[in-house]
Symmetry: C2
Subunit: 308 residues, 2 copies
DNA sequence: CCAGCATATACTTGCTGTGAGTATAAGGGA
DNA sequence: TCCCTTATACTCACAGCAAGTATATGCTGG
């Protein structure tokens, strides 16, 4: 037995979209991602992850993709010196499914990241709370160069000063609010009076950071791979598809352009049916053309995201 | 002590470009990547990796980025049941530096992947060797659907039948030649007569797969992040920069467009000097504008890759 | 039954990016 | 001096796409 042996934890960021709301699967007090140790009986990392998620939440995972592996220095075994390594995954699924154990449930992303939802314009928290707090933080150092650098990072990440909002910078934004001490987990265990935080739901350990990483990955990926369909029911209207993409991206899409792009790429085919449940003129129903999955390895799937 | 404890290995794919040749840093018989176990004395995964590479090759790493984490089922400790997990990294550096231990050295990528270099047009091995072998492989199954699917994968990955070559599909191509049993490591330990292989240098264990993963990542990344400059000397001409990108991408770039893109993005600035070493009209010397590193988080860095 | 509304679907316009070609400048060597 | 090589500058044309506009079709409330 070697002292260098480590424990390996598998952590899942499981995503579903329902009613235009992007959700994350949590356990505990809605502050913990499903996770568990990688054990001998697991055939692979992925099957280990599937096992833990199924056991803790009752959900069977479909699409899975690795996010990041990190060694957490704070989580060394108490009784003896031992490292813990966490391998995080992004999983896409549909919400329906069986009801799992009572303590698991779906939470909107934007409970944890209220500054990330720009579908109704820039949310108030960005300009009213984050901007002044980040200015304070930037000015909180003596060194003029560091001040400039901090403010430049904030400007770029949050699109201050007439810069455009870039929805893919979710992780950079989280890192900024963390460094600035504006989220609960950043000031955990610190002495003194708790500083004013940005109102948002927190998570245990570094789980919120994993979620931020996953959101950034997903927002980037929907633009060049047809992964959205992992989140859709088998049959859907084009507007439902658009609303799902908008929920993930946190911003609105120009409808005619969206339709044109989806159709010209032959990502979907009509079922022949239509639904009147949407109100207004009945919408044609579509299904995903699984045949394109191979092809799209090359071409990519572009989704039009409106600027401004 | 828990039976589920695992060993963690850190593996580095270290890249440098010299004289328009993209190189990988190897040890042993030019068939092994620098690597070593993650140990208690390492402050982090990255510092552990740096330590091993420096010790085995004498090279200090600069830019590092995580590639992938996998649990290798074949590499279970002999004496007792124990898992091994490998965390692979991509590192970019410059070749010069100190001379390390004798058994380390730089090898061209294309020794291991002769089908990946399309700078002088499609290499002969693609049409003369790979295409017929992959046809054999596709036809080697009874099921017609599987036959079609195999051949479609090959067609897409290698650009057969007038499809365009996509340089980013390096990993898919390696997976195909592996599945088809055309590389040495795919038929290692198999009984019977060794089948005809595609001429190429092999590596131990799954190291060649890690290299393929790294090449794919790098070829993708140079298009939206200014990572090329990690591979350049502090001062360089625009043509040298172009040749470096071409070496990585394995294909040629339209010179005027390349210059336009580099300059309009303000990635570089003139030093004021010029060099005549290139022959012909003296070329202006440039240096990288480190200031753009933050900005380019947003804008991305596009590099024009000529088709055909 | 009709007006108004909400959604679906189709067409048009104008800009930008970029792939590709051509032309000119400047040095070295035979 | 001619020619070769490389550097640098300019132009053109097409495709993609953001954005705006217009029409079709069903539902609902008065």
């Amino acid at each position: 037995m070697n002292a260098d042996d480590v424990k390996v934890d598998l952590i899942a960021f499981v995503v579903a979209v329902n009613d235009s709301e992007p959700c994350v699967l949590t356990i505990g007090q809605a502050d913990t991602l499903p996770s568990g140790p990688f054990a001998l009986e697991h055939r692979s990392l992925q099957s280990g992850l599937r096992g833990w998620v199924e056991q803790q939440t009752g959900h069977r995972l479909g699409y899975i993709e690795q996010l990041y592996t990190f060694a957490d220095r704070d989580r060394i075994g108490a009784e003896r010196q031992q490292r813990v390594i966490s391998i995080s995954y992004l999983a896409l699924t549909r919400k329906e499914q069986a009801a799992g154990p009572p303590k698991c449930g779906w939470q909107s992303w934007y409970e944890y990241f209220p500054w990330e939802d720009h579908r109704s314009g820039t949310p108030p928290v960005v300009l009213d709370v984050l901007r002044p707090r980040l200015i304070e933080w930037a000015n909180g150092v003596r060194d003029a160069a560091t001040r400039r650098e901090r403010w430049q990072r904030a400007t770029i990440a949050f699109g201050f000063d007439d810069r455009l909002w870039n929805e893919e910078l979710t992780l950079q934004r989280y890192e900024l609010v963390y460094e600035a001490g504006l989220v609960q987990e950043a000031v955990r265990g610190r002495d003194g009076a708790p500083p004013p935080l940005v109102p948002s739901k927190s998570m245990v350990a570094d789980h919120r950071r994993i979620v931020a990483t996953g959101i950034a990955r997903l927002r980037s990926k929907i633009k060049y791979r047809p992964v959205v369909f992992e989140l859709m029911p088998t049959v859907f209207t084009l507007l439902q598809l658009q609303r799902t993409v908008e929920a993930l991206a946190g911003r609105l899409i120009h409808k005619p352009n969206f339709r044109r792009l989806i159709e010209q790429q032959e990502l979907v085919e009509e079922t022949g049916e239509a639904t009147t449940e949407t109100g207004g003129r009945p919408a044609k129903l579509f299904r995903f053309r699984h045949a394109v999955l191979d092809d799209r390895l090359i071409a990519g799937t572009k989704l039009p995201l409106a600027r401004g």
